[in-house]
C-alpha cells in the first residue's frame, strides 16, 4: 500500500482533478467526466480508520520525486510533474475528516474576485496593487471543527418605559422601571471553528457562512487537484472559541425577546453549554498571501460562496490625499450650500 494517493483517469491514466463547476471529476487530457459513483467503481474508497505512521518523506507516484510538504500539508502537487498528490496518513485515523464541502468556485473565478477586490482598495499602495501575484491563488481545503451543542441561557437586567406629556407651561417625563428576566435554550448546529494554526482565525471567521446543503461525506477524491491541511488545533482547544461564540449568540437571542421598552441594559448573563459534539470537516478556501515590505497580507475567498476577506497595506499619502479631498468637498458644500440656506 502506498502512502501517497494519486487519482488517475480510468480511461487514459492521466491525473484526475475535481472540477468545481460540474461537481465531477474531469480529465484534462481525454475530457472524460466522472460522477462520484462512476469514479468509485474504478477506484474504491479506501477505509483509513487506523492511524497510519508518518513518514519522513513522501514520493510522487508519477515521477518519483520527493514531495515538498509541511508537517500539516495533507494534499498537494508534485512540484516537478504537477501531479496532484494526497498524503494518506494525514487523512487516516484521528485525522480522518467526517465531511467535506467541495469547491464551487474555480481558480479562475477566485482570481477574478481578487482583481475586482484589489481595484476597490483605494488606500493600497500602487506597487502592491500592480504586483502580479494573482497566479499564486491556491485552493485549500481548510480543516475545521464543526460543533453541535446545546445552550441554556439566562439574562437579567433593567428596562425603562419613558412617557412624556405637556400640561400648561410644563413638560412631564415619567420613567417606569422594570426588572426583566429571560431564560431559554436552543440547539446550535455546525458552528465552524478554524482548526489550523496556519490560517488566521479572524479571516476564516469573516468568510463564513458556508452553505451546509452542499456538505458531503468525506472522500479523499475531493482533495485531488487542491491543497489541503490537517488540523493542528485540538477539538478541546477549539471548543473554547466555540463557547465564547455561543454565549454571545444565546444572550443576543434572549436580548431579542426584550421588547416594548425605551431602554434596556443587561446586568447579568449566564450561558451553560452542553452536549458538545464535533465533526472534523474540510471546507474550501482560496488563499493568496502577498508579501509587501516584509509583511504578509492575506486575501481569502470562500471557495463555495465567493465571500471575500482580506487586508492590504495602507498607503499614508493616499489616506491623507483622500482626507484632504473629502475635507475640501465638504467645506465647499458647507460654505456655498450653507450660504444658500442662511
Amino acid at each position: 500500500m502506498t502512502s501517497v494517493k494519486e487519482y488517475k483517469c480510468p480511461s487514459c491514466g492521466a491525473g484526475l482533478d475535481f472540477d468545481p463547476p460540474s461537481q465531477k471529476w474531469k480529465c484534462h487530457y481525454c475530457f472524460n467526466e466522472y460522477e462520484k459513483s462512476q469514479f468509485d467503481k474504478f477506484d474504491e474508497e479506501e477505509i483509513l480508520n487506523e492511524d497510519m505512521p508518518e513518514l519522513d518523506s513522501y514520493i510522487c507516484n508519477s515521477c518519483g520525486a520527493e514531495l515538498i510538504a509541511d508537517n500539516t500539508t495533507s494534499a498537494t502537487f508534485c512540484i516537478y510533474c504537477k501531479s496532484p498528490a494526497v498524503i494518506k496518513s494525514r487523512f487516516s485515523g484521528r485525522f480522518k475528516p467526517k465531511s467535506v464541502i467541495p469547491f464551487r468556485l474555480t481558480k479562475e473565478q477566485a482570481k477574478e474576485t481578487y482583481q475586482k477586490w484589489i481595484k476597490k482598495r483605494i488606500f493600497a499602495p500602487k506597487d502592491f496593487k500592480l504586483k502580479e501575484e494573482v497566479d499564486k491563488v491556491t485552493g485549500v481545503y481548510a480543516p475545521f471543527w464543526l460543533f453541535d451543542c446545546k445552550a441554556d441561557g439566562f439574562i437579567s437586567g433593567e428596562a425603562t418605559k419613558v412617557h412624556s406629556w405637556q400640561r400648561g407651561d410644563y413638560k412631564y417625563t415619567q420613567t417606569k422601571y422594570y426588572s426583566v428576566v429571560r431564560r431559554g435554550n436552543a440547539r446550535y448546529k455546525k458552528i465552524p471553528v478554524d482548526a489550523s494554526k496556519k490560517m488566521d482565525d479572524k479571516y476564516m471567521h469573516l468568510i463564513e457562512p458556508f452553505d451546509y446543503n452542499d456538505i458531503k461525506d468525506f472522500s479523499m477524491k475531493y482533495m485531488s487537484g487542491f491543497m489541503a491541511e490537517k488540523y493542528d488545533v485540538e477539538a478541546a482547544d477549539a471548543s473554547a472559541i466555540l463557547k465564547d461564540r455561543v454565549k454571545d449568540y444565546m444572550s443576543e437571542r434572549l436580548r431579542g425577546t426584550v421588547n416594548g421598552y425605551s431602554s434596556y441594559t443587561t446586568n447579568s448573563r449566564q450561558v451553560n453549554i452542553s452536549e458538545i459534539e464535533q465533526c472534523y470537516s474540510m471546507l474550501p478556501v482560496y488563499l493568496l498571501v502577498n508579501k509587501y515590505k516584509d509583511k504578509s497580507h492575506i486575501f481569502m475567498v470562500n471557495g463555495q460562496t465567493g465571500k471575500v476577506a482580506g487586508d492590504t497595506p495602507l498607503c499614508l499619502p493616499k489616506q491623507i490625499l483622500f482626507a484632504v479631498v473629502v475635507f475640501i468637498l465638504v467645506w465647499i458644500i458647507g460654505v456655498f450650500g450653507g450660504a444658500l440656506l442662511v
Partner: protein, 271 residues
C-alpha cells in the same frame, strides 16, 4: 528712567480713560428732533413733543426723531429715513442709538428706522404693532395724535428693554456676503474635519471584510425555547420641566446697511 516710563504709561492710560468717558458721554449733536416740513404741527405741539423726546434721551439713551415730509428726493421711505438719521447727526453713543419715524405724505407711508441699541429693542413685531397704532390717527389726518402715540410706544418699549431671545437677521445680504460669512464660521471647518477623518478611518478599517453571520445563523430551526419571561414593575419617577417658549419670528430684528455704511433696522406701512 524707570520712573519716566511709568509716568508716560500712566499718562497714556489716563488719556484712554478720558477718551472712553468722552465716547460714552457724546450726545447727539442735533437737538432739533421734530422736523415738520408740511406745518401739520403747531409750534406748541412741537415743543411738547421735543420735551418728551428729551426726557427719553436722558432716561433711555435713545434719540427719537419725527420727520413729516412730502419730498423724499426720489428715495424710498427706508433710504430717506436711514439717510436723514445718519447725515443729520442723530443717534446717541458710539453705536448711534435711536429711531426715526418718517411720515411720507408723497407715498402715504409711515416708516420707522432704528439704529444702534434701538434695533434690538424695536423688533419687527414691535415696529409692526407701533405702526398699526399710528396708522389710525394718520388716516384721519390726526398728526399730533399719531406723534403722541409713537412717543408713548417708544417709552413703553424702551422701558421694557430688549425682549428675551431677540436676534438680528441681516435681510439684504448678498450671496457673496453670506459666503464670506460662512467661510469665517468655525463649524464648517469642524464638520468638514470630522467627516474627512471619519470617512478615511472607516474606509481604512472596513476594507477587511464584513461579518454577515448573526445569532441565528447556526441556530437549529425551531430549537429556541423561551422557558421564563418575567417583566416586573419596580418603580417610577416623574420629572417636571418648564417649557422655554421661544415665540419664533416675533423676536427677530431685520437689519440692512444704509448708504452711510451704518446698520439700520425698521419697517413701514401704508396708510
Amino acid at each position: 528712567m524707570y520712573k519716566k516710563t511709568s509716568v508716560s504709561l500712566l499718562a497714556v492710560l489716563f488719556s484712554i480713560f478720558i477718551l472712553c468717558i468722552a465716547q460714552i458721554g457724546v450726545y447727539a449733536e442735533n437737538s432739533n428732533n421734530v422736523i415738520d416740513y408740511l406745518n401739520y404741527l403747531t409750534d406748541s405741539e412741537i415743543t411738547n413733543l421735543q420735551a418728551d423726546i428729551d426726557s427719553i434721551k436722558n432716561t433711555y439713551g435713545l434719540d427719537v426723531v419725527i420727520v413729516i415730509t412730502d419730498n423724499t428726493d426720489g428715495k424710498s421711505s427706508r433710504d430717506f429715513a436711514d439717510d436723514f438719521f445718519d447725515y443729520n447727526g442723530y443717534g446717541i453713543g458710539r453705536d448711534y442709538s435711536g429711531l426715526l419715524m418718517l411720515i411720507n405724505m408723497q407715498d402715504r407711508e409711515v416708516w420707522i428706522s432704528t439704529s444702534g441699541e434701538a434695533i434690538d429693542i424695536f423688533t419687527n413685531s414691535r415696529i409692526s404693532t407701533m405702526e398699526d397704532n399710528i396708522i389710525g390717527p394718520l388716516s384721519n389726518a390726526k398728526y399730533y395724535n399719531a406723534c403722541r402715540t409713537f412717543i408713548s410706544d417708544v417709552k413703553s418699549y424702551a422701558n421694557a428693554g430688549v425682549p428675551r431671545g431677540q436676534y438680528r437677521v441681516e435681510s439684504d445680504m448678498t450671496y457673496a456676503d453670506k459666503v464670506s460669512r460662512t467661510i469665517k464660521s468655525l463649524p464648517v471647518y469642524i464638520v468638514a474635519l470630522i467627516i474627512s477623518v471619519g470617512s478615511t478611518l472607516v474606509l481604512s478599517f472596513s476594507s477587511k471584510g464584513k461579518v454577515t453571520i448573526n445569532s441565528s445563523t447556526y441556530e437549529e430551526n425551531g430549537s429556541f425555547v423561551l422557558s421564563e419571561r418575567r417583566d416586573d414593575y419596580i418603580r417610577e419617577s416623574t420629572v417636571k420641566t418648564k417649557i422655554e417658549r421661544s415665540s419664533g419670528g416675533s423676536q427677530k430684528s431685520s437689519t440692512h446697511t444704509s448708504s452711510s455704511g451704518r446698520t439700520h433696522g425698521g419697517g413701514g406701512k401704508k396708510f
